[in-house]
């Protein structure tokens, strides 16, 4: 298994950098166009959450991205240095009363496009999102 770790500034440019780097690794694993699109969107949404909600664009905080390539999957961990959050407190974007909300759909989309998804408290602080996409589950 090959692993890559990068630490990025809390800017929207970093979203592009992370997406590009991870899709490069995903192509090496053998993911095809549709899965690459899904993975790219999941990474984008996770990075935006880390930059905007986790680190709040702070120049003092980094977003840490770890990508692990295996022959049949890609594992991605994206961690911010913010205050952490409780996923159970995020309003359900599919509830009738929230359908017309301007925001709040990021986590829903991430989970729709990866095969495994976990939210964990970062150490010593912040939030860590772990995602796995399997090569075989093409849809």
């Amino acid at each position: 298994m090959a692993e890559r770790c990068i630490s990025l500034d809390s800017t929207l440019d970093s979203v592009e950098v992370a997406e590009s780097a991870i899709l490069s690794d995903a192509k090496e694993v053998g993911f095809q166009e549709e899965q690459l699109h899904q993975l790219g969107l999941a990474v984008r949404e996770t990075m935006v959450n880390a930059v905007v909600h986790g680190n709040r664009y702070s120049s003092r905080k980094k977003v840490h991205v770890t990508v692990t390539k295996a022959h049949d999957r890609l594992t991605i961990v994206i961690a911010d240095e913010g205050d952490g959050f409780d996923p159970s407190c995020v309003p359900n974007p599919l509830a009738e009363e929230n359908l017309l909300s301007q925001s709040g759909r990021g986590l829903l989309l991430i989970q729709a496009f990866v095969d495994e998804f976990q939210v964990r408290r970062g150490q010593p602080r912040g939030t860590e999102i772990r995602m796995v996409k399997y090569l075989a589950n093409a849809s």
Binding site: L41, V52, L99, S101, R105
Partner: protein, 114 residues
């Protein structure tokens, strides 16, 4: 690449043509500002043509929802045209297919505003 926006009239329907990517930052903001501007000027029938939009993220979806709310709060209608499969999938996942009227061809979309 960000989003390129333009608008034209087809009868009394304003068609907003979008091309590129509607994502957090410049793209989503430009989209929101144009729709808001048109609504403020009294545009009541708006058709957003997304046939040249290759990519939308949740922020782009959010601005589409916000635009819909802005137009309907002004007593108007906002409908969507030309979604590719990926954008349609996003609307399905987010249940926004139950909110937006979506069309695959412009003549049908224009007629629906009558």
């Amino acid at each position: 690449m960000s989003v390129k926006l333009s608008n034209r009239q087809v009868g009394d329907v304003t068609v907003v043509d979008a091309a590129g990517r509607i994502t957090l930052g410049e793209g989503a903001s430009a989209f929101r500002d144009l729709i808001k501007d048109l609504a403020a000027k009294g545009t009541k029938k708006m058709l957003v043509n997304l046939s040249e939009v290759s990519y939308i993220d949740s922020s782009g979806i959010g601005e589409m929802v916000s635009s819909y709310t802005t137009v309907t709060n002004h007593g108007g209608q906002l409908k969507l045209l030309g979604l590719n499969k990926r954008v349609k999938d996003l609307l399905q996942i987010t249940k926004l297919y139950t909110v937006f009227e979506v069309f695959d061809d412009e003549p049908s979309a224009i007629r629906s505003f009558a």
